[in-house]
């Protein structure tokens, strides 16, 4: 039989092992969080998810408190909301910036959303440099020349989501927490570059960071390129923009909008779901799909960062046919298709239908492979068809 507890005056059912936060969310209670990521073990660090629990002297963190029969919980009393507002203020007061570039990462707008939810004015809480409460973290951006992950720790709020996602989800333990209190730092072992650590540049830390302290350098660069002008590759100035430039780029950011298209990663056979982020017909980044059935928010360095082959200048744009001079020359589709068809017709006439072979792609969609085999089977009546799986 289902067990019951009371949330905001209403008796609700829960299952063994559920936390108060999980139960409350099922009943559409909007409890604020910062250190919480549904994929990770509850941490209870930010205290924003506190609720009143009858019989408990102080409010409890709902993310770490297991539901028990007969509990009486209040999720949004005036007192609790006041506590939460103060907590958000404390966090915001410490950070250089709250309205961060939306392409910093999947979750990078969470802190700004909380500020809006608690109706804080922008004045006094953002963009004023080191705020009222200044820990060692403020003012320490980690210079790291890697091309993918911006380590802008002035925006770090020590929620440890990056450390936990790296350990619990990715299983790499590449980053950790160094020092304590005001001196807390996120660092690799021996506090070096990510490249010299166990980091595989899967990007999961970027995507779980709720403030944009860890950010997708590549997406921010690509977005900058779009903002600068026509959709084409601008090699020089943009690509050499270093971490400091990117970190400063927040001011122009919030208006940036992008579209998302759900698809499947183009690389290995795992089939991770991703969202392609586009601006003005340019791919500017990739977000892992948190509900992707094969990956549940995970990606690897290829899926996360190796997407720009698509809009690379080397792409073939026109059909090519070999000319009298032995070289390949651009031509029209009509000409190229005629040449392609004519060659097969001639070969079949000269050598018979068993002289023609088709190799389908394991990289193209199934419709291509299906039509390749149909082309050979219908066209030549043979089974002279294969795909590229044998090597």
């Amino acid at each position: 039989m289902a067990q019951k507890l009371t949330i905001d005056g209403k008796e609700v059912a829960f299952s063994e092992g559920e936390t108060l936060l999980e139960v409350a969310e099922r009943y559409h209670k909007e409890i604020p969080t910062l250190c919480y990521d549904t994929r990770l073990e509850p941490f209870g660090g930010c205290r924003l998810c506190i609720v009143e629990l009858e019989g408990a002297r102080n409010p409890v963190a709902s993310c770490t408190t297991k539901a028990a029969p007969g509990m009486v919980v209040r999720t949004a009393t005036a007192k609790i909301e006041a506590y939460r507002k103060t907590l958000v203020e404390l966090v915001i007061g410490e950070n250089r910036e709250v309205d961060v570039h939306p392409l910093r990462g999947y979750a990078s707008g969470e802190l700004a959303n909380l500020r809006d939810r608690y109706g804080m004015s922008s004045e006094g809480t953002r963009g004023t440099g080191p705020g009222r409460l200044t820990g060692a973290m403020s003012g320490t951006s980690k210079s790291d020349d890697n091309p993918f992950i911006l380590r802008d720790y002035e925006l770090c709020i020590s929620c440890y989501r990056c450390v936990r996602v790296c350990a619990e989800q990715e299983g790499d333990h590449a980053i950790t927490v160094m020092n304590r209190g005001f001196h807390t730092q996120i660092a690799t072992e021996f506090d070096g570059l990510l490249k010299d650590s166990a980091c595989t540049f899967c990007g999961q830390c970027i995507q779980t960071c709720p403030t944009g302290a860890l950010a997708d350098k590549k997406a921010m660069r690509a977005s900058h390129t779009v903002a600068q002008g026509p959709v084409r590759r601008v090699p020089s100035a943009v690509e050499t923009r270093d971490s400091e430039d990117l970190a400063k780029e927040n001011a122009l950011a919030p208006e940036t909008t992008f579209d998302k298209t759900r698809t499947i990663c183009p690389y290995c056979g795992v089939g991770c779901s991703v969202d392609i982020l586009t601006q003005d017909e340019k791919i500017v980044g990739i977000h892992p799909a948190m509900d992707g059935p094969a990956n549940l928010g995970a990606l690897c360095v290829k899926g996360q960062f190796a997407y720009d082959f698509v809009q690379h200048p080397d792409r073939l744009k026109m059909p090519l046919v070999r000319g009298e001079d032995g070289e390949l020359h651009e031509t029209t589709w009509d000409d190229a298709l005629d040449r392609a068809a004519e060659g097969f017709r001639k070969t079949a006439a000269a050598h018979g239908r068993h002289s023609i072979y088709g190799i389908a792609s394991g990289r193209a969609p199934s419709e291509a492979a299906y039509l390749m085999q149909k082309f050979i089977r219908v066209g030549f009546g043979t089974n002279y068809i294969d795909n590229c799986s044998r090597a």
């Binding site: 183009p266 720009d308 792409r315 073939l316 193209a364």
Partner: protein
């Protein structure tokens, strides 16, 4: 894969052999890491001390190409120690008694002489795998890219069948597919022995069905494989249509491959770049790429998923399906008047029993509407995350009395080192895509040959310097990298970089049945430059 990816977190014992999953299927590997963190035991068999070996509880560093011997030794121990699942064997398999007899000479001590793995470790692996309630096998090309690829896979099936580790959650025989839609290409019938949906071309009922569907006579015998076709280029094969494969770099024995393609009278290549293979073509047709194409693909766990276009293609690039239709129409072939991918996929579903319950709309809705893992035999079917539950499709599981065979070529005085090839995390196959992604070069700028420090000294090489590596087929120069990931006597390189064409060296032999090349074993000689 017999089991879904989510099952990776559920076994008690995980046996990974010939799979460098942390580099080649990194997201799947996170599932294994979670299983280990939860307390599952991990056994890793691989000639190289790969990332998975580092987190394993038992590492079996077998000599390249000796997998069958290792697996026979494990089967021997399982049988001898009575770790078999008698109920499962009785109800769901045939041939166990003969197999039991067959196993008697293949002791772990014998296996040690072939594999180099200590007999006691072979015993431990067998005891763990055989004793656990749920044991799962994961493998990749380290099992199949051998002349004995079929025997290797059969050996793994023997282990699963004798212990009943198939058809249940957290068990199974799970090959990891390497390309985003290599499963879908096979599903779609791009195979010389199967019509779409793995319907055999030699089965009269299927022949009649496709004669009716396609309104034409089709050969009643199997076609030839790509490997055979390449061998017959210029002889019996005179024209090829290649869609999106860089055959020249990805296939073994590059010289042979280049000669084959050059001897064709007509070569048409559909691709997104002017690859090394496309450069040999008479006609190159520019295709739309990932992110520009609507369609459907199937992943390693048989999950059929939707690909969506997000940006327009460059220039006049067109979808593969459109290109093929246009050529077919010009040749007067029937059944190619498609105007979008949707009716093509729906036709594939209609002619394939394993896809019969699927259609474009269902795939478009995604996971919310069933799991869409085939077989999906009818519209109301939810899909099949786990194969072989309750029974095998083809009746009973058959034990295979396999024997160990040496690789096609073995080391000798002229070629005293084993070369094995594979992939790296930051690069994908021939690097045509990752090589054009900004930032990847920061992590992987060039190809290197991974050599054990003792071998560097033995052959007079220097870490970071160039060396010449030769096989019976040719020579390349490659930079040496000292690492204990390579055991003594074995070196490793990937085939990612066109300027270090490792496939000039490989290609010593093929599996007789699958025609998969022995890319994992190639005797070589190393000399300083």
């Amino acid at each position: 894969m017999s089991n879904p990816l989510v099952d990776m977190q559920k076994p008690d014992v995980i046996f990974c052999i010939g799979t460098n999953m942390t580099e080649c299927h990194p997201v799947a590997a996170t599932g294994l890491k979670k299983a280990v963190a939860r307390g599952a035991k991990l056994i890793v068999a691989d000639p190289r001390r790969i990332g998975l070996a580092e987190i394993s509880h038992l590492y079996l560093p077998l000599r390249v190409g000796s997998d069958t011997a290792l697996l026979l030794g494990m089967a021997h121990v399982i049988a001898r120690e009575g770790l078999i699942d008698e109920e499962f064997i009785k109800n769901r398999t045939v041939g166990f008694d003969e197999f039991f007899e067959h196993l008697s000479p293949w002791t772990p001590e014998w296996a040690e002489t072939i594999t180099g793995v200590p007999a006691k470790d072979i015993k431990t692996a067998a005891m763990w795998y055989g004793s656990a309630d749920k044991s799962a096998i994961y493998y990749t090309l380290g099992i199949t890219e051998h002349i004995c690829g079929v025997e290797n896979v059969q050996s793994l099936c023997n282990l699963a069948l004798m212990t009943g580790n198939i058809g249940r959650e957290g068990t199974g025989i799970n090959p990891m597919r390497g390309q985003n839609n290599i499963q879908g290409a096979g599903d779609s019938g791009a195979l010389p022995n199967n019509y779409p949906g793995f319907q055999s071309v030699t089965e009269p009922a299927n022949q009649a069905k496709f004669k009716r569907e396609y309104d034409t006579e089709i050969d009643l015998e199997k076609g030839i494989t790509k490997v055979t076709a390449l061998e017959l280029c210029g002889d019996r094969i005179h024209a090829m249509l290649i869609d999106g494969e860089n055959t020249l770099l990805s296939d073994p024995d590059r010289k042979h491959c280049e000669h084959a393609l050059r001897s064709l009278e007509h070569l048409v290549v559909i691709d997104i770049f002017l690859t090394e293979t496309a450069q040999l073509a008479d006609v190159v047709l520019p295709a739309t790429a990932w992110g520009e194409t609507d369609g459907v693909c199937t992943n390693t766990e048989r999950r059929v998923q939707r690909l969506r276009a997000a940006v327009p293609p460059p220039g006049e690039a067109k979808p593969d399906w459109w290109i093929i239709c246009q050529i077919a129409q010009r040749l007067g072939f029937n059944g190619f008047d498609f105007d979008s991918p949707k009716p093509i996929f729906n036709e594939l579903c209609r002619v394939s029993p394993i896809y019969a319950g699927l259609d474009w709309e269902r795939i478009d809705k995604g996971a919310k509407n069933g799991v869409n893992q085939w077989p999906v035999p009818h519209k109301a079917h939810p899909g099949t995350p786990r194969l072989h539950e309750g029974e095998f499709v083809n009746g009973r599981g058959i034990f295979s009395n396999v024997h160990y065979r040496d690789p096609a070529e073995t080391i000798d005085d002229a070629f005293p080192m084993w070369l094995t090839t594979g992939r790296r995390l930051q690069s994908y196959h021939t690097h045509t895509q990752t090589g054009r992604a900004q930032g990847i070069e920061y992590l992987l700028s060039e190809e290197t040959l991974e050599v054990n420090p003792a071998d560097i000294e033995k052959w007079g090489l220097s870490d970071g310097e160039w060396c010449q590596m030769s096989s019976a087929r040719g020579s390349i120069t490659i930079k040496v990298k000292a690492t204990n990931r390579s055991p003594r006597g074995t070196v490793f390189a990937s085939f990612s970089f066109a300027d270090v064409p490792v496939n000039l060296l490989t290609g010593s032999g093929y599996d007789a049945i699958t025609h998969t090349a022995e890319l994992k074993v190639c005797p070589v000689r190393l000399e300083p430059l």
